[in-house]
Amino acid sequence: MNTVDIAILVAKTLLFYLIVLHVVPIMVWVERRGAALIQDRPGPNRVGPFGLLQPVADFVKFIFKEDPIPTGANRGLFLVAPALILIPASLTLAVLPFGDKVKLFGREILLQVADLDIAILYVLAIGSLGIYGILFGGWASGNKFSLMGALRASSQVISYEIPLGLAAVGAVAVYGTFSLREIALAQDGLWFGWLPRWGIFLQPVGFWLFFIASFAETNRLPFDLPETEAELVAGYHTEYGSMKFGMFMMAEYMNLTTISGVMVTLFFGGWHLPFVADAMLLKWIGSQNLLGLVQVVIFLTKVAIFLCVFVWVRWTVPRFRFDQLMRITWGRLIPLGIVNLLVTAGVMLWLGGWK
């Protein structure tokens, strides 16, 4: 492990981490503009062209606002909670395969932070850590409502973790590996000439489960109960002012990006163009490095599409009641997940491992 490798590693990690970090302000803008578009209003357009600098303005505002800590709160946990939710959110991007690989300084560099052979498990594991942020946030702020909000939010998140897991298992069963990079590689090329080898065609139900569960994991709208403005004021982060509240928003958007990244990798062929095989693309572009760049761009556009879908869904679909919410996952999603698992296993057995 000489210094050059370390330098490359640090640079690569920093690069990808910054990419995800910058997605957050963009998302803030997209969210506000999207909501405005759907509600047929102009949305923020004062600060900078088309309001592009609005997120920066928000960020600066948050930094300079006072950050009160309520008397009944447990000071230590109150401070730690936002960090507890932000850190896991930023850790999950480590396994996202932005691109294939690039040859620089004589070494082959993978276009992702780390290629773990247990990537999917890692994603789920780190995802499950996020619950603590919510729990401690709610409990520490010493407010009955925020505690209730925290309890509800965490019940919902943990309940939807299981269908998420089951969907992931379906994908893993099909590809026979945990590593996202290998799954992405496996999705190159076409079936029967016209159908791209994407995961969604192998695991449609799996994708459907994963998609729904991802809404719940990130507390996005249909499953927006915990932080609903109407009932529980702001849910578990009621007492948080200024930047700590900002951190909650950041964490939420980073979760969003990483989970859509995972969905893209698992079901939408990662960095592959739908109908163009990598080899042909390489021929057209010529150099491997350039191809790497193109692959990253393709991956990010797919993630962007997903993000827009999230925003779009948020402002169109009404909210579920808590018991409806629970009934969906325990009554519908988990059984569906199991059935999907059995079906995939059966089909694979029947096809004799062709897949």
Partner: protein, 163 residues
């Protein structure tokens, strides 16, 4: 490199476990428990058992401690609990724990298995495959076991009043 990491995470785990035992507030001890298990997961990675690290985080920290925190929140009493029982009891407990620790250490150091982890280690695939070939029977029994536990816990935990 990994020695530093080992030291770091070792200290993290031990420190937090002390925190668990000696913190005045139960919620804080739960928090320290999370950190200590996180450190432990890192140690599993250092022992070259990444699969266990992930399982530890996924199941242990991700589910069991969540349950702990839930219960701690639901039960939590407002007054700070008296940490320790009578003086003499604490003293004897300390001596006992200390001597048991020493004995354990001596046993571990001198046990034949004190062999460095090296060479070709069983890969994740071989381990998982062994789970379904060699240990198929416990795997099946496990689901029965969990079924029993589900029923048991429900019977135990449901509100006797309106159940």
């Amino acid at each position: 490199m990994s020695d530093i990491a080992a030291g770091l995470f070792g200290v993290l785990t031990l420190g937090c476990s002390l925190g668990v035992v000696f913190s005045r507030n139960v919620i804080m001890s739960a928090f320290y428990l999370i950190l200590s298990f996180f450190g432990l997961a890192a140690l599993y990675v250092l022992i070259q058992a990444p699969f266990l690290a992930v399982i530890q985080v996924l199941i242990y920290t991700g589910a069991i401690v969540v349950l702990f925190v839930f219960v701690v929140m639901l039960i939590d009493q407002d007054k700070l609990l008296e940490v320790v029982t009578g003086k003499t009891l604490v003293l004897t407990a300390g001596v006992l724990a200390w001597s048991l620790g020493l004995i354990l250490l001596r046993a571990l150091n001198h046990s034949p298995m004190a062999v460095p982890v090296s060479g070709q280690l069983p890969t994740l695939r071989t381990i998982s495959l062994s789970l379904f070939t060699e240990y198929l029977w416990p795997f099946e029994v496990l689901s029965v076991f969990m079924l029993v536990i589900i029923v048991g816990v429900f019977v135990l935990a449901r509100d006797k009043v309106n159940a």
